[in-house]
Amino acid sequence: MNKRTTQTLAENISKQVEHFSKKEVECLIREFNVLMAEQNNSGRAVHGLDRGKFISTLHSIFGLTDDRMTGRVFRTFDKDNDSVVSMKEWIDGLSVFLRGTLDEKIKYCFTVYDLNGDNAISREEMLHMLKGRLIRQPNEEDPDEGIKDLVEIILKKMDYDHDGKLSFEDFEKAVKDENLLLEAFGTCLPDFRVICNEKLLSSLNFPIKNSQSYSLLFLFFQRIEMFEGRVFQEQMEQ
């Protein structure tokens, strides 16, 4: 893809996507292309990142390691359910990922947690997502007893309409009440501190020298307002 097409594309997309400027979109497109190139397409023509590549990207760049969640994140990114994340979906998703407002994030998290897409998080879904998060006590007969109890505690707190499941409204209200509950059932948003942690970066074999990947990194730094403005300028100069 030559520079000109990238720019036109960026201009188009930036109009449809919130939170990103045209230049930023351009960087993201370039990053997307790099990831596409790395992906082993085995001859087939694919128009987006497949599940494996996407999850490994989540893993290496965003520090998301929970397998239960990364699968769901892929599903959430892949809005048209065609099993690949297209460029548009990629940029759309990242806009919530990196710059999302609380409302957007609530919506995003809820979609991730709503495993069967019925617009509610049921007891069973919670149980599934929380399973194994409690260290088992050998003297307890039912290994999931603790988790079940925990689900009741969660419902008591978050289920405002007492219908035995969490509707979107329940979830939204609970999170606005206590922000800590945003990622209530698993980590599905990047923690920028993980990214900033140099040691972790090197341990994940993050290609620091690859300037393209830097663009993503810098997006995070923007969140902490350290590199505001400067980042993309550098990109443009190159």
Partner: protein, 1081 residues
Amino acid sequence: MGISLTRAAQWTMVSSSTAKLVSTPMNESLLKEILHFVEHFRSQYPQEAEHVFEEPLQWSTTLVASDFKTDYDISDSDVQSHERDSEGHPLLQLSPPTVYVRSFSQLSKLLHLAHDKKLAEVRACLEENREPLVKILGRSFASDLVIEAHDDAVSVVDRTKEEGLSKDLEVKVKLFQLFQDMDKQILDTLLKDISEQVRLNPKAVKNEVEILQVFCGGGDKGLLKSLRYTSDFEFSNGYRAPLWRQVQGDICYLVIEPCDTETLHITCSTAGIFLNGGIKQEGEENGYEQTSDTYEDLVTLLKSRSPHFAEKINQQDSAVQELSTKKEKTVNEQLQLELHTTRRNIYEPRPSGILSTCGKTEENKGHKSSEEEKKSLRQGAKSKIKAEFSASSSPGHMSSQKRKTEENKTLKSSEDEHKNLRQRAKSKTKAELSASSSPGHVSSQKLKTSAGALPGEPFSESSTESEEEEEQPYRHPETNTDLPSEYWQIQKLVKYLKDGDQIVTVHTLCAMMDFNLMQESCQMAIQDTGALKVLLNLLDTDEHKCEIGSLKILRTISHNSQIRRVIVDMRGVQSIVKILDSPVKELKALAAETIANVAKFRRARRNVRLYGGINKLVKLLDCLPNLASLTPSQEEDIEVACCGALALWSCSRSTKNKKAIRKAGGIPLLGRLLKSPLQKMLIPVVGTLQECASEESYRTDIQTLGMIKDLVRNLSSDNDELQMHCASAIFKCAEDKQTRDLVRKYKGLQPLVSLLHKADNKQLLAAATGAIWKCSISQENVTKFQEYKALEILVSLLTDQPEEVLVNVVGALGEFAQIPANKAAIREFGGIKPLVKLLTSPNQALLVNVTKAVGACATNKDNMVIIDQLDGIRLVWSLLKNPSADVQSSAAWALCACTENAEDAGETARSLIGGFQLIVKLLSSTNNEVLASICAAICKIAKDEENLAILTDFGVVPSLAKLTNTTDDRLRHHLADAIAQCCMWGSNRASFGEAGAVAPLVRYLKSKEGSVQRSTAMALYQLSRNPNNCITMHEKEVVQPLIHMMGSDDEELQEAAAGCVRSIRLLYMANRNAELFTFRN
């Protein structure tokens, strides 16, 4: 009990079979503790009390058969208990004088029977059973309880369980734990005593050996022929003794060849240094027994063994010097550490470092072999306990420990449920917790113990806060079952908190927040279930959601003073301070808010400072407070700054913290925040400033950085608290004249007066009146105040107010009354009567101000009439008896004014019994201000001749004469006045001369102070009427300065100087005439 006996108890060391417990206070208390433990054992642990000892404890008792009552078979002098073990042997058997006891229940009963001989019995028992634990639990339990790899231990536990022998073991484990608890308790109580006795440690021994080695060899000139260790291998802990001997406290073995006696084999152990049975090489099985007394160091031992060494070492002064100083230093260095180790020994009854080298089990085999058979049974229990200990001291073993704890739990009886949970809570730690969320961190986590000692720095902080919390003893956790339902719910949550990963932890924390955490039962539940420790551990996990949740709980429960203290004990302050560096603003704010709550007592504030918290908090203040429009991020900054200011406010109650805040550059930042429009920001900022304004440097900065303007502006705020702090800050700063002028300049006087109307808020009133008082020191301000009719309101505040307010009101009135018109005004407003009434107050600060105000008012004749009617003179006079020097002098000044202006002051004075004596007695005060004021009072009182006569009778003349050597000009002035006045009676002039007052007075003339010169000249004039005084004056060359003074502008001075010169001249003339007359004849 084991450790306390071997380590803490002081034995007379001879041979172990006949050792006696030395009768020291420490041993006495030790015995009492043990007695108490044993006595109550039966009632507290009925099950364990029935356990039959491995071997009976036997000792010679003073009890006889007749002492025993029911439950015992008595035949002649022999006694047997009804209680028998499974084989039918009695659990207690007495065949005088020896008694055999085989269970705790019998021990308890026996002690009960012994009545007042209890202590003697315990002592005898301990003396004759040097290793009670061995007898009670069997050897393997008490001594071999070491050096097993973990995995083995677990398998053995399982095996023993399968074999169904756990019942006996279970009791033993329990017993052992009880002993450990007991040990811990005893050691805690004895820790203070122990701290005074420094025990030897490897470092000290090594130093000493090294120094002595320098002086080895060299034939007869050397101190020793040779000195060497038996082993060249040094363990990582500095010990050289084999592991199994380290357990006994042995550090190393030495072989020393003195020049004059046979070779000495020496054991250096933590208990001291003694000769052994001859250990030549490492790894010998025998020869470890002690064959001499114990010495505190090597030199002392050698001195007593080798005359040659003793002689030489006395010659080698320098060497000894070096030796001793070096040793002392090491000892001091080690003291702290040593104490720490002693504490740790409670948990880990072996020298540190042994864990890492525990592969060397072979050495132990021989020791154990005799009991090889039983071993397999006991090993399980043994290692289980060991695992627990090692876990509590070495975080690396966390994961295995957990399994143990759980197994341990199943062993415990249900009645101990509560205790059990607490215990689990205790042993579970951060390491384990974070292991579930971030495995990589486990090894780096350090275990927190409440015993954590801070780097030494004595408490030296003063506090300006009157409501300072006192450190109180911890509330004893109640074991009753009447706990509210919240307690159990929280307990359940804590379980999930400990077992869950990050996501679960967040849910648990959120659920916990839903409880009413201000309620004490919830706070106590959190403390009792060990949640507090988990919460603090969460702060070190780097999971910011968990940290936020934890801090949200901590900031609420830290309103409880008990919990604050526990947080500090658990080294929570460090963790919280560390979070202040977090990039997450919410976290910073929460951490600061928590510090604001925790730092309510001194030790916490000190911790905040020592861990660098002050600098970090000051950094939080850096924000732009008064922008018109704010980005969300700037708003967050302001929130953080607010919390930072709150924390600094709490911290600023300690003087050292005030200095630290200043050093960290906090004052300009506070000044900037002072411009904020937000009340929630202003209150902590002004609060901090007013707290710090007790320091001179702050007052200067507040003034020079232009904060007065902002303070004045906020006086008109609509928030009482803010107004109060502003007024209070002005109160403290207005000691300085420029500040007072600034307050006037920024029109702060009117708002101050209007604050006086808020009579309901006493704190506000106290601050406002204080500010008015200090501001009114400047006369210009008083004039302004009059415009706002401050005086009338102030007078109305003289009644029915708390003392804090009264002190300030009266102080202000004292300043107002410096202007004559106000004196009448005070009277007109009816202020004299309440003022005089306040003369009977017990508050010294108030009395100082009241006497000053009364004194100022008394200069008005009409006021004086009222004061006199109200018996004010007597009241003022009686205040001279007040122990406070300030009150004394202030009263004396008031007395001057009263005496001067009262109609019949002389009469009144005489009517006061003992008044004159009191005044003369005060002339021996050491406070110059008191002396000056009393002299001034004498001067006034003595204007009445009769009074002067009485004063003279009470010896005022010599008392005054004694003071003449002073160099204080203020005192000199009033003293000279008093002397001048006292000369008016009888032979006082001559008496002053005889008492040697004249010569020093002449020296006063050199003073540059005009008032001193004048008073002195007048005194000299009076004294010069006595010829002898003239001679003295002349000798002291008085004429020159007097002539000089005659040229002064001051007429009184001229006159007095001239009068004095005239007297001298007249005497000279008379003398000369007399001479001529004699000559002629």
